[in-house]
């Protein structure tokens, strides 16, 4: 059983002239599922911490394999699983389905970072309050 499932209606503007969801939008869908997962714990993906620092989760790597096209108005189910909890990073897998039809599978590796005032990002250990929630969600 997936740790988290997110439903996403395919919007008209997600399609392209081939009549299907443009492949780049699957990465947006993954992110939306990830953020809904964070939201389920009361977290935002970019969040001011109690000490005033800003913590975000930039991507290290993302991939997606496309098995069957998705169409306008489809209601996609996106199953999210955390596949690896590193000290500073999280890896997640995503399975996209429309009913019984497998649409795509994706992976996202993201690293916990402090946003510096100069616009730079520095990787940090995942703060305890994130870690607790993300671990308690394990089956």
């Amino acid at each position: 059983m997936a740790q988290f499932t997110h439903s996403r209606r395919v919007q008209f503007c997600d399609t392209d002239m081939a009549g299907i969801v443009h492949f780049a939008n699957f990465y947006r869908y993954m992110e939306e599922a990830e953020h809904a997962f964070f939201r389920s714990f009361g977290f935002k993906i970019v969040q001011v911490q109690p000490d005033g620092t800003v913590v975000g989760w930039p991507r290290v790597r993302a991939s997606c394999s496309f098995e069957s096209p998705a169409f306008y108005d489809d209601l996609l189910e996106i199953e999210l699983d955390i596949t690896r909890r590193g000290v500073k990073s999280l890896s997640m897998s995503f399975l996209f389905r429309r009913g019984e039809t497998k649409i795509a599978t994706g992976e996202l590796k993201t690293v916990c970072c402090r946003h510096e005032p100069d616009g730079k990002f520095h990787s940090i250990e995942i703060p305890a309050h994130y870690r607790e929630k993300l671990c308690e969600s394990t089956g």
Copy 2:
């Protein structure tokens, strides 16, 4: 004669399942033309000023009338004219053409703002160095 002309190749991901450029992308194209116009003077649309403040140009209003569809791979010409220079705001018109075919016309009203550290925007008089350049561009 337009004050500034910007060429924009229609990308595949700009189209939708109706086989034409999705209407929301015309607003992005207007913005790209506006930013190319600013860039022609050495300005960025969000720019740290000599005194350390950040100046940007949020939108007050935008509209577009669509006359003929645009297609993948079209090379659009976008003609920009400043239609009104206010103390704090700029209004611009845009004409989209593909060769002799008129595709669309748009308008954009934008206001000069200081970005406050709290994330708010406060409208300001258009700084002199912007005003000079934007005025010298008049025919």
Copy 3:
């Protein structure tokens, strides 16, 4: 009372470096509300008709006035009203709110079209089964 209200969570990828929803996305939000309105009657925005023709609703004109910025994770309420039912066209207004805060207002004029096999669009009278539903929704 609005004829139809649609809720839309602001996604991270809807924001820009100014920290707010990019203005072009408001046009996508309007369209999503319009399509949810159509969906509430069992209609798709591009739909094969019983006689095999394809009917769509390309845009004639769209405008939006921006009053207050919208931010990541905001839950926007979008109120849709039909402001004019023409023989071949529909005009709609949109009010964007976050709680009591008015964010933006927009208008969309769309025309009922048959998609021809050559990729062209020809405006047609709004078919009766659309008209009935869209009229019965009036207060």
Copy 4:
């Protein structure tokens, strides 16, 4: 030396509230480079063939690794190389640079397909006139 290099200006609407290019846009940039590569041979990515069939290139898999953020107004150089020519598929690699700074690397696997009138895609052998051009481009 790369087989093909494409320059892409980062647009304002490509950024997100973290102040950097949103990761999903790198997949659009890859596609734009790919299409510019096709265009350099006179090909469109969706093209009616002499026999009336429509040939397109849907994606099988795409991945991207992000090394350094890209910012508004950056002029990115995107180097494209064909890494594998299959009978029915093409695999390409992409290197994103801003001057000497390596921004990201990506891969795209795409399969040559005939678009059927029912909206389905069937994989086909890459037609000879594509193959000739794509092969003559090898160093």
